[in-house]
Each structure stands twice: as structure tokens, then as C-alpha cells.
Amino acid sequence: MKIQFYLNNLPRVVDVAADRRVVDLLREDLGLTGTKEACGSGECGACTILVDGQTRLSCLMLAPQLEGRKITTIEGLADGEGLHPLQEAFVQTGAVQCGFCTPGMILAALDFLKDHPDPVREQVREGLSGNLCRCTGYQKIIDAVILAAEKGGRNR
């Protein structure tokens, strides 16, 4: 079936099977491999994307659910070679180890910061508790989100 949506601010029309999972559509059909799959059952958050600005798990969504929506994947954040401030903060604080959770983590953090522009660490922890990381112990990820929030505050 044909569906239309905005993908990282560009209009897209794709012809896709109705039972195609969004994570497969993104990775296999559209070549956007930044979205990761780590459990396939909605437990780890690695496949997080933004649908109309809100976090959604692309392994639990079927392609037709994208109809008419605005989708953001990790590929949509950087401006050419220039990283998004949140990505910059992840790099600066050393919040990335194997990197597999990072795309989902950054998108979840982006959505979180929108509602909590000036968070304390405990709020960040709660906000990111749906995204598992096996490498970092989370501390530097929290550092990154706090840093991004501070910088965001300064830019306002």
C-alpha cells in the first residue's frame, strides 16, 4: 500500500506492505540504519523515533501508522556536518560507548528536554528509563542531557 509522511522534514511516498514494521521500513527499505533494533518487543528503546515530535518505538509500529505524520530519525538531527547540540553534548561528555543505544537515547532525550527544559538529574533518569544502555552505566548520558539543557538555556 502507498503511504505518505514527512521523514526528517522531507515529504515521502512509499509503497510498502501493510504489515511491514516501521523499523524495517526505515532500515531495510529506506537505508536509514541509524535506527537500531535490539529487542523487537518494546523493552529497550533502541528503535526510538519521533512521531510528531513524540517518542515512539519503531519496532512496535506498522508502516501505515506513519500516514500523514512527521517522522524524525537520528539522521534528521545533524545539519550537514554540524551536529545537533544534543549530539554535541553526547560527544563532549563521553556518553557514547558502543553507540547502539545512542540514537534512541538522543531522540528520547530530545523529546524529554522539550517538556523539561531545565531538568535535575533525577528527572533525566526517569525520562530516559525506557532506554536501556549496557555499556555506560548511564552517568555520562545524564551528564550529556544536563549539559545540553544548560547550553539550550544559554542560547534562549
Binding site: C39, S41, R134, Q139, I142
Partner: protein, 732 residues
């Protein structure tokens, strides 16, 4: 036992390209690092639920479930064995009929001093038995890769692995292929922790690829498959006895260790050996008797996992130390200080420590730290309905492969035609960031900007064999090879420049970003121009480094030596944790964590913190939640909803410090830090819980359920008597 595989119905499904079985394998059909006992595809019998039987290739993944259903496999049931101690009994069914020791994969014994007779000189002795859980790696990226075989029979694959060069040899042998015709590419992988130290998808991918030449074959395990077939941390049963003299110095230690390795070796022998080597902790103990067995069963495969046998023995020993401290009326810190190893001492397996040994300094620093200073007042300030405890543990962790297997790395550096430098990294970066450290070293020694350095990740066609990304040896061994290679490269370029700049003195030439400058005349030579002027072969430097090993022989058992005993260099650390327990639910909250470490000098402090913080988090998961449950060999915890990993809510902010004491043999004074932190949390948490609850829990993970039970038992009026009785039971 496998009787027959009927593939005809599966092959009739349109889109099914091939159904391959052991009959399609031309090689040995056996894989393994030490003992080659694991089939690519089952040929005689299945030994656990995760054994692959047939490989189905389909055009489209959507066809897979039906195709797999249509492969009919006929079995003759055999008696299973799931309990490691049952497996040792005479009448137990054999997992591998050809193994001379039956179901005991490896047994090791180490005696130091008077061994068990040393207990006669002790004034206080404690005894306890422990059972620790099976831990799942749960790297977020499951096992995966792709492979393609071209018309000339050349096979290329990219896989998520820690060991590209060893994989190549294993695949070739198992499938009967020419090693020279296999290329393994190992890009950065999404976590590994030991679970990708050895074959996962490699042979299956290769088998698939050679049966459809010219077409890429891809395999990606789903989480449930990764749980089913991937290797785990060995579940362990440990019995310990520790005795001390009047002054609290350890006199005698006895430990009996049983690891369940499942049906395949998968480094299980090496894991046991490292466990034995660390079983006495970082302490001086004159009389030691250690016995360990790693046993074949029909349970899931256990094998390499960050810590490699050390988290289990540390989890037990460090609780013994607290038990003894309590019995002798000493503080947990004081008893550790009195026994801490120092350089020049003999460790518990009898090896004299000749390299940097900073445990004492770590303990001193913990003692002076506010987290230790405030621990009593913090515990006393528990709010009603909660209990608080603080717990300590010491860790030590050996680096490298031990005395027999050469721990070697080969760095390759190239000056490109554009005057830039290419660093060929031979060891995998699975998230530790070692490749970044290598670029940092290269940038520093060559005085070049990051943009002028190019990294080539492990690839058997481009980089040189440099061993596995494991054993806390990656940056140490490859870093040393790289440093020597870079120095050689620099020297070579300066000498070449000397003839062109026509100066008589080499020490007046300096390597600058993009050029070489003559200091007194100010003349410069662009590296690009220099590169064009040098033959291609001369623009490459290769340097091999072999890590030093211990010359001591602590046992006549050559098998233990082969499996890595003993080591020369150890890292050390002290962990301190604060816990709060909800009396109503038994829920444990980790409030604070301090870790002071001796990992040599740091090259990249941020990466060091990542390793320690990440190791602590994985260790807290091991201590508190993670329990890969198996019933009659079958996995009960099949996914991340039943196998609980720590989330951002479960791990506190950690204070991580390094002594920065240089290890003279290391690159810029560094020694390994990849595994060390994983060893400490179980015992620290258990000790903190015992302090808070007044009762010790001898089984891990220390779940809310177990804590609640301990709280309830402790609450009964007979509290004191009962505690004594449990202690006695444990002593019997």
C-alpha cells in the same frame, strides 16, 4: 540423538534457497577456542536447546518462520543432565563421549604453603557457601553479520566479533575452507563483553554464502535467539573457608569452586583458571588450598564474559572477609588494610608481585574519602520504614593471556601519498573506545591533527593479527606496539627529511602538523612532498609487541598453565556502596557508589571512567537483578521483560577515581581497566545488605524477594539465636 532431517517440504516453498545440514559441511564441523567441541550444525546429538540443526536460506525474512516450521527433524531422546554435581556422578550421561575426564571439562588444584593444614594456626575461622546466578551479556546489538562468496571461492564477511583473525581460522577448519580465501571484517560492534569472543554467526554465514555464490547472505539473531544460543557468565557454587591469626592477618584459605559451562568449552577452562588465580583476592595468605571444576551439562553455554570467572570468586571471598572482620571485631576496611598485597609480596597462588601494586594506596584513599568517613552517620540516619547499609569490596584483575599463549599485537602505520597517516588497528573496538585511544597516541607522538589521521578498523585483509579484544589487554598490548611503531615512523621520516633539507643534525628537525621543520634555518618540508619522494614500501612501518609474562611456575599442572596461570600484571580497586532498603517491599536502592582504582596512568581519563562506570553498572545488575533462569535446560527468561537489566533509575551517580600510579611496562604507564570494575559490586552490595538487614544472603541475585525474606526472618524475636544457627549451618 539426531536421526534424520527431512528438508523436502521446506525446499518446496517458493523463495527458500537452501536448507543446509551437517551433510553440507566439508570440514571438521567443530568450533571452539581451546577444545573444539561445538558443532556448526548438529551431526550426532543436540546438547542443549540452542544448538543449531539446519540452516535455512530464504529470499525474504518474512518466509523464514514457515520455512523453519517445515524442516522436519527426527530425534531419539537421550537422558539429559542439568545439575553440575549430578553430572560428575558415575552413572551420569556423558555430554562428550570423547572427553577423557567425562563431564568434567577441567579440574584444577592449587596448593600454597601448608594448604588446608594452615588452618591449625588460625584463631578465628569462618566458613560459608555461595550460589551465584547465570548472567546474560545482553549487549544491545545481538550477534549478526553478512557474508558473500564470489565465483573464485573467495569468501568475505563482516561480523560483530571480538576476534576476526581467530574467527577466520576457525571457520576455515570447521567448513574445510582455505584460510587464505577468507576475509573477516570487524567494524565497531554494538557491545560484546566477551560474548563475541569466539564464533557466533560466522560459520553459519560462511556456510550459507558458499551455497549461493555471488549473493550476500545476512544473519541477525533476534533477542530471544541471542538469549537461547549466546554464551553466559558461568553460574557458580562456591565453598569458602578463611582463617586469621590473633592480629587479623589471614593465615589460611580454602575454596572449592564449581562452574557450570553447559555443553561446550567456550573458554570455560580458561574462565575457571582465572577464577582460581583470583580466588584468594588481593591479599597475603600464606596457606592456600584451591580446587575448581568446570563441568559440562545440558544447560545453556557459559563462556567468556567480562570478569572471566573473577566476579564469582570475588563475590564470595569479599563476603568472607567481612564475615571474618565481624567475628574478630575489626572494621571491614581495617582487616583489608592489614592483609592488602603490596609490591614484592607473594599473592595467594604464590606469585611474587614485581609490577605496580596499588591496593594499599586505594584503601588509604577510600579511608580519607568523605563517602567512607560519613558512612556510619549516613546509615544511622535511615528514615522509618527503611534500612541503610554500606559495603566494601576489594578487586584485582589480571591482564593478558598468561604465560603460554603469546600475547602479541602488530601495529601498522602508513604515511599516505597525501602526507597523512593511516593507523591500522588490529584489535576490535566494541565500545571501549580503544581505537580512539590509538588515534590519540598517534596524534600525540606524530604531532598531527586528528583530521590528518585515518583509522583502519580490524580487517584480516588490511590490518595485522593482534589478538582478541579481551583480557583487559587491548590498549596495553596494541598500544605498546603502536608507540614503538610510531617512534620508528617518526625517526624514519626525520632521517629522510635530513637528506632533503641538507642539515647535518637530526635533532634540529621536528615533526609538525603536515610538515617537518628545521629549527635553526626555519626551512620546512611538506609531508606530502616527502611522501611522494619515498617508495611505497618505505612509507609503511610495522611493529610487533609481545606482552611480558610471569616466569614463575605455581603448579606442575601444564593444563592450568596453558589456560593462563599465572599472570604478571594486575589492576586493583576498592569499591564502596551505599544501599537503602524498603522494609515493606525489600526493594534495594543503590544510593551512592565510590570506586578508587589502580589501573596505571591514564591515557584517556574519559574512556577510563566509562569502563569503570559501565563495569559497576553491569556488576550492580549481576548483584541485584540479573538471573538467566533455566528449567530442565530450557530458558525461562527469554527476553528483556523477564531478564532485568539496570535502567537509568537503578544506577546511581558514581564517584570514580584513579591513583595514576605508573605501570612501568605499559604504554605511557597504563594497565588494563576493562574488566576490573565488574568484579566488585556483587560483594560490596552483599556486604552492605548484610550490614543493613543483619543477615547475610548467600544466593545471588540479591532480589527484593530474597531481601524481604531475610528481613522477615531477621524481624522474628529469636533474631540473635537464629543468626548464630545459620552461621553454624553454614559452617557445617
Amino acid at each position: 540423538r539426531l536421526k534424520e532431517i527431512d528438508r523436502s517440504r521446506a525446499l518446496n516453498i517458493p523463495g527458500v534457497l537452501a536448507v543446509l545440514t551437517h551433510k553440507d559441511i566439508k570440514g571438521t564441523n567443530r568450533q571452539g577456542v581451546v577444545r573444539k567441541d561445538q558443532p556448526v550444525l548438529v551431526d550426532d546429538k543436540a546438547r542443549h536447546y540452542g544448538d543449531p540443526v539446519a540452516l535455512v536460506l530464504v529470499e525474504n525474512k518474512a518466509l523464514l518462520p514457515e520455512a523453519l516450521d517445515q524442516v522436519a527433524v527426527f530425534w531419539e531422546p537421550l537422558p539429559p543432565v542439568y545439575d553440575p554435581e549430578e553430572a560428575l556422578k558415575e552413572q551420569a550421561p556423558l555430554i562428550h563421549e570423547d572427553h577423557p575426564e567425562g563431564n568434567c571439562l577441567l579440574k584444577g588444584e592449587i596448593v600454597k604453603g601448608l594448604g588446608r593444614d594452615g588452618f591449625s594456626g588460625c584463631t578465628a575461622t569462618v566458613r560459608a557457601a555461595f550460589a551465584f546466578s547465570r548472567q546474560e551479556h545482553a549487549y544491545l546489538e545481538t550477534e549478526n553479520g553478512w557474508a558473500v562468496s564470489n565465483e573464485n571461492g573467495f569468501l568475505e564477511m563482516a561480523v560483530s566479533t571480538q576476534t576476526p583473525f581467530r574467527d577466520r581460522a576457525e571457520v576455515a577448519e570447521a567448513l574445510g575452507l582455505d584460510q587464505e580465501k577468507i576475509r573477516v571484517i570487524a567494524p565497531c560492534c554494538g557491545g560484546a563483553f566477551g560474548g563475541k569472543d569466539g564464533i557466533t554467526v560466522q560459520s553459519l554465514l560462511a556456510l550459507g554464502a558458499i551455497h549461493c555464490p555471488g549473493r550476500p547472505v545476512k544473519m541477525y539473531w533476534e533477542r530471544e535467539e541471542s538469549f537461547l544460543a549466546g554464551c553466559k557468565r558461568h553460574p557458580a557454587r562456591l565453598e569458602y573457608r578463611l582463617g586469621a591469626g590473633q592480629d587479623g592477618t589471614f593465615q589460611a584459605l580454602e575454596a572449592r569452586i564449581i562452574f557450570d559451562t553447559g555443553p561446550y568449552d567456550h573458554l570455560g577452562g580458561a574462565v575457571l583458571t582465572l577464577g582460581l588465580e583470583h580466588a584468594g583476592g588481593p591479599y597475603r595468605v600464606p596457606h592456600v588450598y584451591l580446587q575448581g571444576q568446570v563441568i559440562y551439562t545440558n544447560n545453556p553455554v557459559s563462556g567468556a564474559f567480562r570478569g572471566f570467572g573473577v566476579p564469582q570468586v570475588t563475590g564470595a571471598l569479599e563476603q568472607m572477609v567481612d564475615l571474618l572482620a565481624e567475628k574478630m571485631g575489626l572494621s571491614p576496611l581495617e582487616i583489608r588494610r592489614r592483609n592488602a598485597l603490596q609490591k614484592g609480596d607473594k599473592n595467594s597462588v604464590g606469585v611474587r608481585l614485581t609490577t605496580s601494586t596499588g591496593l594499599k594506596e586505594c584503601l588509604d584513599r577510600v579511608e580519607a574519602h568523605p563517602v567512607w568517613q560519613e558512612s556510619l552517620s549516613w546509615q544511622e540516619a535511615a528514615r522509618p520504614g527503611t534500612r541503610r547499609g554500606a559495603g566494601l569490596s576489594c578487586v584485582h584483575h589480571a591482564m593478558g593471556y598468561g604465560p603460554v599463549i603469546p600475547d602479541t599485537a602488530r601495529a601498522k602505520i602508513e604515511l599516505t601519498g597525501e602526507g597523512k597517516f593511516r593507523i591500522y588497528c588490529g584489535v576490535v573496538d566494541m565500545g571501549q573506545g580503544n581505537s580512539d585511544t590509538f588515534l590519540q597516541i598517534a596524534g600525540d607522538l606524530l604531532n598531527q591533527a586528528r583530521a590528518d589521521l585515518e583509522l583502519v578498523l580490524p580487517d584480516t585483509a588490511q590490518t595485522l593479527p593482534s589478538g582478541s579484544a579481551s583480557a583487559s589487554r587491548t590498549t596495553y598490548t596494541f598500544g605498546q606496539a603502536l608507540i614503538k611503531g610510531l617512534q620508528e615512523m617518526k625517526q624514519r621520516l626525520l632521517v629522510k627529511a635530513q637528506t632533503r633539507i641538507k642539515t647535518g643534525r637530526l635533532d634540529e628537525l621536528i615533526l609538525e602538523p603536515g610538515r617537518i621543520r628545521h629549527t635553526s634555518s626555519g626551512q620546512t618540508l611538506d609531508l606530502r612532498d616527502l611522501a611522494l619522494d619515498i617508495r611505497e614500501t618505505e612509507r609503511i612501518v610495522i611493529h610487533e609487541f609481545k606482552a611480558p609474562v610471569s616466569e614463575e611456575r605455581v603448579t606442575p599442572d601444564t593444563r592450568l598453565q596453558l589456560h593462563g596461570l599465572p599472570h604478571l600484571i594486575f589492576s586493583y580497586g576498592v569499591h564502596l556502596v551505599y544501599l537503602e532498603i524498603d522494609e515493606l517491599t525489600g526493594r534495594v536502592e543503590v544510593k551512592k557508589y565510590l570506586a578508587i582504582n589502580d589501573c596505571g596512568r591514564l591515557i584517556n581519563p574519559q574512556l577510563f571512567e566509562q569502563q569503570i562506570q559501565g563495569g559497576i553498572a553491569q556488576g550492580l545488575g549481576y548483584a541485584l537483578f540479573e538471573d538467566f533462569k533455566v528449567d530442565q535446560g530450557m530458558t525461562i527468561t527469554t527476553g528483556l521483560s523477564t531478564y532485568i537489566l539496570p535502567s537509568a533509575m537503578d544506577v546511581p551517580d558514581m564517584e570514580v577515581e584513579a591513583l595514576g600510579l605508573p605501570e612501568e611496562s605499559g604504554p605511557f604507564g597504563l594497565k588494563g581497566c576493562g574488566e576490573l570494575a565488574m568484579d566488585g559490586p556483587l560483594a560490596a552490595v552483599a556486604n552492605a545488605l548484610a550490614a543493613a538487614v543483619g543477615r547475610r544472603i548467600y544466593e545471588s541475585p540479591l532480589t527484593a524477594e530474597r531481601v524481604l525474606k531475610a528481613l522477615e526472618e531477621g524481624r522474628r524475636k529469636v533474631e540473635f539465636k537464629k543468626m548464630r544457627r545459620t552461621g553454624e549451618e553454614n559452617r557445617n
